[in-house]
Structure formats: C-alpha cells, structure tokens
Symmetry: C2
Subunit: 259 residues, 2 copies
C-alpha cells in the first residue's frame, strides 16, 4: 500500500490533506505539522529551506513513497533542495496551482495571493508564465488572512472580515484579473468572503490541483480506507483543537516529534 | 560599563529596549530577536521555555550583567527556568507591569490583554493578585493585534483597526475595568486605537514598567551614550526593515546567529 508523506508549517496543510483524501481515500498518510516554528510565510528562504529539509528527513524515516509539500511558502522556496536530498518524488503545491490557473484564465490576467515569503519568491509568477507565456500576473501578500482563519473569523458578512478582504483584494479587482490562485493553505477557509469581493473571478485552490497530481501517481485501492498518522513539533493539544476545522474530520491523536 | 542583554521572539521587544534606553541612555545593550521562530504567543510553555533558554545562553556568552526578557509570553512561562540557569539577574516584563497596574487601579477591576500563551499561563492574573489581593482581573487574548501592528495598520480612524479593537475590547469595557495592561510588546503601537475604545481606562505599558526596574539596578553614567548590538536568528533584512518603527531610531546592522 502506498504511503504519502505530507508536511506543512502547521495546521493549514490539513486542507491539502483533505483534498488528497477526497481524491484518493485508500492511501495511507503521515502528516507533519511544524507547529513549533510556524509560520513560514514571514521567514527567509534560507530558514524555510532548512526547516523543510528537517521535516522531510523525519518523514523519510517513516517509509513514505511520495512527499507532498503542502505549505505554499516551502513549495515556493525549498523544492530544489528537497528534490536533491529525498529518495522519493517530491510534489509542491505551486506548480499544480499555477497550471490550473494558467488553463482556467480566459484573459490571461491572473492574480495570486499568498504569504510574504511566497509572493516575494516569485515562484507562482514564474510557474504561471512557464505555462502561459504572456500572462499578466498580479501577486499580493495578505498577512492578516492566516490569523483571521485561525481565529475562525471567516463569515463573509462579518464587517472585520469584509474590511480586511476588501483592503487586500480591491487592487486585484482594479487590475481586472479573471482568475485568482489561493496560494496559502489557510485561504480556502476564507473562500466565501474572497468570492464575495471578487464575484466574477474564478478561484483556484492549489489543494485541489495537487490532489489531482497525487491521484495520477498513486494507485487507488477500491474499498480500502487509509490509515492516517499525525506528527507535530510543538505539544499536540492546540493542533488537535483546531485540526478538525481544517481537515473536515476529527483528529484524535498526534505524536510529538523533534526535528 | 554595564551591559544589558535583552531577548524577544522577534522585533516587538524593541519597544521594551526603547523604554530602557529612554530611562538609561548610558547603558550598553545586546538585543536578540528569535526571528526564525517568531511568534512565541501561539506556542506551548514547553517550547517557549526551550527557545528562551537557547536565547539566554547566546546572550550569556556576550558577558551581560543583567538579562531582560522583553517578550511577555516568555516572561510569563520561562522565568523560573531562566533564573535557575543564568549567572546574572533575570527580569521579565510581567511582574513590573502587574505591579504598576495593581497600584494604578482605583476600583481593583483590572484588564490584561496579551497573546494566547500569556493569557493561558495566568501569570499576569497571579502577579496582580499577589500585589493586590481581592482585585478582579479580566484577561483576553488578542491574536489579530500582532499582525495588525506588523502590517502598520494602527491608525485609530481605520475601519479595520476600529473593528478588530472593538471586537476584542468591548467585553473588557462591559466588565467595567479602570486599568488595562498592554501585555504584549506589539500593543503599544495600537495604543491610540485602544485608548479610543476604552476612553476612561488607564493603559499600563509593561515596557515603561520594566524600564524603571532596570534603571533602579544599573548605574547611569552622565554624558555617555551606550553601544547597541543586535542579533537575529533569521536573516537580518526583514528585521532591519521594520526595526526602526519599533525602536524609534534606525538600526543599521544586525548579526545572524544560530541558537
């Protein structure tokens, strides 16, 4: 049976795991959330690469067949280092999200929102241009979206949510994009509020895009339900308290690991 | 000449350093910002204590005479471990802030705002009750305040700022507090917006409170200006970009250290 390793800076990557499980319910998974060092999105490429390698080494010892980098920031800056070191295929969320967005856009005017690290890396912008030369990409960091999602302030009728979303997205609306990549694992929790602010824009969730790639590589087994393990670098309690909201099912236990 | 070591989870502790320099301009300082692991406020007491010990060891090697824990979360959970290990006096921001608040309040109804870690530790609540038995303490975590301050969204007329501040502070207003401790290094940047939401309430900044304690322990030298060094655990660029807003003077260079 195939076992998929997934790591993220914290709890947000569970939205990626959720999409993978919906596409491929028979696969086993080991998820590592680096909750002692979260977030990655405000940190340098050097530091994020160092943390990503440590996470990947822990997962490699769990006999995984494929590594999924669920964190957009790590996908944007650490893939070459991870691919150079790991003995298994490594998939990030940036390439699949960029590919879907490049195909979905009619006008070629594509927006990308993510962390400061993801936007500063230029990784989505470059990947979209590789898929669709001549596209115009408008990228914007939205640092308040992660704490909003973690507070559970996601109601599109909430005046604070509306205010923050409009402050970040009005420039993208003015740039007349027709497609927007949700380039951070937390942003799907704000999907409805984002859609309200950009009603004519197609939203691309990188989690769905990578789930398709995983399904294409891992054989499904009819009638089997996968076994799922969770590892965290801080104590498990807080992770367990919020994991359900991100994964869409209860997480009953998680193991503390040092990386 | 006396040298003061100061550590914080990141850049916020520069508001504490700023208060210390205003009170004691002749002292030398070494500031360590753990920018690779920031924030501490969402992490467990175990992890914050481990990081605090590592920071303190780096500073101890720089021949400091006194260690100031500028981070409220670290002050709330790690002081006993730090005092057990360090060969120099260790001061946190919680005790001084609690003492000033306990004295300032007329009614004994005192509010405390801080990170999730600081509020959950109960450290401010306990310290206020030690100073003033019978006080009623209402504590509230305000997770959005740190990213608001880091985005520079602090204008009290800004509708997003007003909305977030009111959401967190309306319950404190309803609890009829007359004194509020700003129990996180970032919160002084939101002071005006907080004052607008709680116009009758006295605001206590723990940075000012600890600066008085430091001045009482370190001899001042007339006419001397201290020498200030800055250490960071992530690459220095982002720290240097925002440090001025927190310190109130330009920071020209910072050294990268591994802890």
């Amino acid at each position: 049976m195939s076992r998929i390793g997934i790591f993220d800076s914290g709890v947000g990557g569970l939205t990626v795991q959720r999409a993978i499980l919906a596409a491929l319910p028979s696969a086993d998974t080991v998820y590592l959330g680096d909750t002692a060092r979260v977030p990655y999105g405000t940190k340098s490429a050097e530091t994020v690469t160092q943390y990503s390698l440590r996470n990947a080494r822990v997962l490699a010892r769990r006999e995984i067949d494929l590594l999924v980098v669920a964190c957009n920031t790590a996908s944007a800056v650490a893939l070459p280092a991870l691919r150079a070191e790991l003995p298994v295929p490594v998939l990030g969320v940036v390439e699949p999200g960029a590919r879907v967005a490049a195909k979905a856009s009619r006008t070629g005017r594509i927006g990308v929102i993510g962390t400061q690290g993801t936007v500063a890396s230029g990784a989505y912008q470059a990947a979209i241009l590789r898929e669709r030369p001549g596209a115009e990409v408008v990228a914007r960091a939205c640092p308040l979206f992660v704490p909003l999602a973690e507070e559970g302030w996601t109601d599109p009728d909430d005046e604070v949510v509306r205010g923050v979303v409009r402050r970040y997205l009005d420039p993208l609306r003015d740039a007349a994009i027709d497609t927007l990549v949700l380039g951070c694992t937390h942003y799907p929790l704000l999907r409805e509020a984002i859609a309200r602010a950009l009603p004519e824009v197609r939203l691309v969730d990188s989690a769905d895009a990578i789930a398709e790639e995983v399904r294409a590589r891992i054989p499904a087994v009819a009638g089997r339900s996968g076994v799922h393990r969770f590892l965290v670098t801080d104590v498990p309690e807080r992770f367990l308290g919020v994991a359900g909201r991100f994964l869409g099912r209860t997480v009953e236990s998680a193991e503390h690991v040092d990386v």
